[in-house]
C-alpha cells in the first residue's frame, strides 16, 4: 500500500480509483474480522455495540487454543526451514547441472501444488498412519515441508534464472572454490528470493487446513483445525481474534521479507579501517 501511494502521481486518476475500488473489494471481507474481534457479545457481531478485548484475553487464557497456536507456529517454522534446506540445493542442481530424470523430479516437487489438497491429504493420512506419524510434530513438519516446497522451488528457480552465470565463473577465476562462490556470491544474491519464499512458505503452512485436518489427533491439532472445530461447535468471537492475530502476523512477516529485500539491494558495508589503510598505502 505504501508503495502504491508513491506511484499515484505517475498514473491517471481513473486508474488510481479503479485500483482503490478493487483493493477495497479484496480486503474488506477479510478486514471485517478485525472490528468483530473487538466486540463484547458472545456471538459474532458487526459492528460491535461495545468495544473490548475480552476475546483476546479468552484466547490467551485457553490452554487448548494456545497449544494449537504453539503447534502451528512450530510446524510452520520447522517445515519452512526444512523446505528451504531442500529447495536451495535442489534448485541449484536443476538450474546449473544436467541431471538424469530432471523432468520427472521437477514434476514430483511441484505435484503437491497441482494436486487437490484433499488427494494429498488422504494419501498422507494412509502413509502416515502406518508409520505412526499422525498427530506428531515430525508428521506435521514433513507434510508441510512437502506442501511448501513447490513455492520455494519456484521462487528460487525464477531468481536463479535471473542471475548471470558468469558471476560464478568469475568467482572461480578469482580463486573461489565452488562452496566459497556459493557462499559469497550466489547465496547473498538469492537472499531476497529466499526471504520472500520463506515468508510465503511459513504463511502457507500456517494457513493449511485440509492436510492438517487429516493429520491432527484429538490431543494434537493445528490452529486451523482448532478454528474449524470451533466454528462447527460453538461460534465464539475467539475465532475473529485469532484471525486478526494471524492477519497482523502475516503482514509483519511480509514486511520483514520486504525489509530483507531492501537491505540486500543496498548491501555494502564500508570497511571501517579504510581511511587509515589508504594513507598508509600512499606513504608506502
Amino acid at each position: 500500500m505504501a508503495g502504491s501511494g508513491k506511484s499515484v502521481g505517475a498514473t491517471t486518476w481513473p486508474v488510481t480509483l479503479a485500483t482503490v475500488i478493487v483493493l477495497i473489494f479484496l480486503l474488506l471481507p477479510t478486514l471485517i474480522v478485525i472490528p468483530v474481534s473487538f466486540g463484547s457479545e458472545k456471538y459474532l457481531q458487526f459492528p460491535p455495540r461495545e468495544w473490548s478485548i475480552v476475546w483476546y484475553k479468552a484466547f490467551f487464557a485457553d490452554a487448548e487454543w494456545l497449544a494449537a497456536a504453539r503447534l502451528s507456529i512450530a510446524v510452520a517454522s520447522l517445515s519452512t526451514v526444512l523446505a528451504t534446506l531442500v529447495a536451495i540445493p535442489a534448485t541449484l542442481a536443476f538450474s546449473r547441472g544436467r541431471l538424469v530424470g530432471q523432468g520427472v523430479a521437477r514434476s514430483l516437487i511441484l505435484a503437491p501444488m497441482i494436486l487437490p489438497h484433499i488427494v494429498v491429504a488422504v494419501g498422507m493420512y494412509i502413509a502416515f498412519s502406518r508409520w505412526n506419524l499422525i498427530g506428531t510434530l515430525p508428521g506435521f513438519v514433513a507434510a508441510h515441508a512437502i506442501l511448501t516446497l513447490p513455492f520455494l522451488f519456484l521462487t528460487l528457480t525464477a531468481a536463479i534464472s535471473k542471475l548471470d552465470p558468469s558471476l560464478e565463473l568469475a568467482a572461480a577465476s578469482l580463486g573461489a572454490s565452488r562452496f566459497s562462490a556459493f557462499r559469497h556470491v550466489t547465496l547473498p544474491l538469492l537472499m531476497p528470493a529466499i526471504a520472500g519464499g520463506m515468508a510465503f512458505a511459513f504463511i502457507t503452512s500456517l494457513d493449511e487446513a485440509t492436510v492438517s485436518n487429516f493429520l491432527s489427533s484429538s490431543a494434537s491439532k493445528t490452529l486451523m483445525k482448532k478454528m474449524f472445530e470451533d466454528i462447527d461447535f460453538d461460534v465464539s468471537p475467539i475465532v475473529a481474534a485469532v484471525s486478526t492475530l494471524i492477519i497482523v502476523g502475516s503482514l509483519l512477516l511480509v514486511a520483514a521479507a520486504q525489509l530483507v529485500r531492501r537491505l540486500a539491494v543496498r548491501a555494502p558495508r564500508p570497511a571501517a579501517t579504510l581511511p587509515a589503510a589508504r594513507t598508509q598505502a600512499k606513504a608506502a
Partner: protein
C-alpha cells in the same frame, strides 16, 4: 586519469612478471562439432596475444581451456611450465575479464576488487588498501564505496580489470571485454588496456572477433577458423602476408580475383591470367604450378589508378562509383571480372577520377598474394 594511474603505480615495488602459456595439441569436441582441432601455440612472458576468429571458430573455447572452465579432450596446457590441463579454475591463479564484466552486484567496488584477495586469505585492512590502490591504477580512485550499478559500462570494465590484476596474476585472460561498449569508448579502452598491460608486464590472451581491435592491441594475433589455428604472427605479418584467403579476407579488407597461373610477367614476377584476358602480377603464398587455378588477393589501399585506357594484356576498367569516406575515397572499378574492384585512395592527395573514367589498374607484385584456389 593517466596521471592517477602513474602515481598509484609508483607505490608498487615492481611490475608484474608475465607468465608463459603453452598449448599443445588441444582438442575439444561437442557432439559432432570440433570446437578445437589440434591447436598448439605458445605465448611468451609479457606478450599480448589476440585470439581472432568468427563466432564458432573456437577462440572462446580455447580461452576457456586456459582458464580451466573447459578441459580439453586431448592435449596439454601449461602455465610457466606447470601442467594445468586438469587443474580447476580457482587453483590456476590466472586473471580473467568477462564479456559482461561479471561484477558482483551486491558488493562495493572495494569488495569486488578485494574478493580475490579475500579468497587468498589477505587480512581486511590490507585488502582494502590494495583494492583502493588498484582502483586508482584503473582511474577510479575514491570510488571504492560505490556499487557496480552506479557505474557506466566503461567504468565497470575498469573495475573488472582491477579485480583481475589486484592479485598480480602472471596471465590475464580477456573474453571480448570491449564488445559491450560503444564505439568511441571501445577505441579509447583499447589503448588504455594496451598501455596498462605494457606497464604491468602481464601476459595477456585476448579473445576478439574484431580484426581492428586485434591489429591495434596485440603483439601477435592467432587467427582461428572452425576450431583450427590458421595462422599466428605479428599484426603486420598477418595483414601483409596472409597464409590463405580466409586470413586475407578476415583481417582487413581485400579484393579477390580468380584466374590461372601463367608463367611470369615482364618483371619476372609470377603472373595470373584472368578471365577477362588481362594478366596481373603477385607473389604466391605457396609454390604453384603453371596452369593451376589460383586466387589473388590485393588490398584496396595498395591498388594504383591512373586515368587512361590500359595496354593490351594489362588490367584496365572503368570507375563505376566514387564514395567519399572522409580521410579516404573509395573507388569501385569495374574490370569485367564480376564484382567491381574496391580501391581506396587518400582524399585530396590525388586527382579525383569521375564516374565513368577509363582507368589503368596496377599494383606492386609484392603487395598481391596468390593462393591456390580451394577445391
Amino acid at each position: 586519469m593517466m596521471t592517477n594511474e602513474a602515481s598509484a603505480l609508483r607505490g608498487r615495488p615492481a611490475a608484474l612478471r608475465g607468465g608463459s602459456v603453452r598449448i599443445e595439441g588441444a582438442r575439444k569436441v561437442y557432439g559432432s562439432v570440433r570446437a578445437l582441432d589440434d591447436v598448439s601455440l605458445e605465448v611468451a612472458p609479457g606478450e599480448f596475444l589476440a585470439l581472432l576468429g568468427p563466432s564458432g571458430s573456437g577462440k572462446t573455447t580455447l580461452l576457456m581451456t586456459v582458464a580451466g572452465f573447459e578441459v580439453p579432450d586431448a592435449g596439454m596446457i601449461t602455465v610457466d611450465g606447470r601442467d594445468v590441463t586438469t587443474v580447476p579454475p580457482n587453483r590456476r591463479d590466472l586473471g580473467m575479464v568477462f564479456q559482461r564484466y561479471a561484477l558482483f552486484p551486491h558488493m562495493s567496488l572495494r569488495d569486488n576488487v578485494g574478493f580475490p584477495l579475500r579468497m587468498r586469505g589477505v587480512a581486511t585492512d590490507e585488502r582494502a588498501a590494495r583494492a583502493d590502490r588498484v582502483l586508482g591504477v584503473v582511474g577510479l580512485e575514491g570510488y571504492g564505496d560505490r556499487l557496480p550499478s552506479q557505474l557506466s559500462g566503461g567504468q565497470q570494465q575498469r573495475v573488472a580489470l582491477a579485480r583481475a590484476i589486484v592479485y598480480e596474476p602472471p596471465v590475464l585472460l580477456m573474453d571480448e571485454p570491449l564488445s559491450a561498449l560503444d564505439k568511441n569508448l571501445r577505441e579509447q579502452m583499447r589503448l588504455e588496456i594496451k598501455h596498462l598491460q605494457k606497464r604491468l608486464g602481464v601476459t595477456v590472451i585476448f579473445v576478439t572477433h574484431d580484426q581492428e581491435e586485434a591489429l591495434v592491441m596485440a603483439d601477435r594475433i592467432a587467427v582461428l577458423d572452425k576450431g583450427r589455428l590458421v595462422q599466428i604472427g605479428a599484426p603486420r605479418e598477418l595483414y601483409e602476408k596472409p597464409c590463405n584467403p580466409f586470413v586475407a579476407g578476415f583481417l582487413g579488407e581485400t579484393n579477390f580475383l580468380t584466374g590461372t597461373v601463367a608463367g611470369r610477367d615482364a618483371a619476372g614476377a609470377p603472373a595470373l591470367a584472368l578471365q577477362n584476358g588481362a594478366s596481373v602480377a603477385g607473389s604466391p603464398a605457396v609454390p604453384l604450378d603453371e596452369g593451376a587455378r589460383a586466387l589473388l588477393s590485393i588490398r584496396p589501399e595498395q591498388i594504383t589508378l591512373q586515368a587512361g585506357p590500359a595496354a593490351a594484356g594489362a588490367l584496365g576498367g572503368r570507375v563505376a562509383e566514387v564514395i567519399y569516406a572522409g580521410a579516404s575515397t573509395i573507388y569501385l572499378v569495374d574490370v569485367g571480372t564480376g564484382a567491381p574492384l574496391n580501391v581506396r585512395r587518400p582524399s585530396g592527395a590525388e586527382e579525383t577520377l569521375g564516374e565513368g573514367t577509363p582507368v589503368r589498374v596496377t599494383w606492386r607484385a609484392s603487395d598481391a598474394r596468390i593462393f591456390p584456389a580451394e577445391a
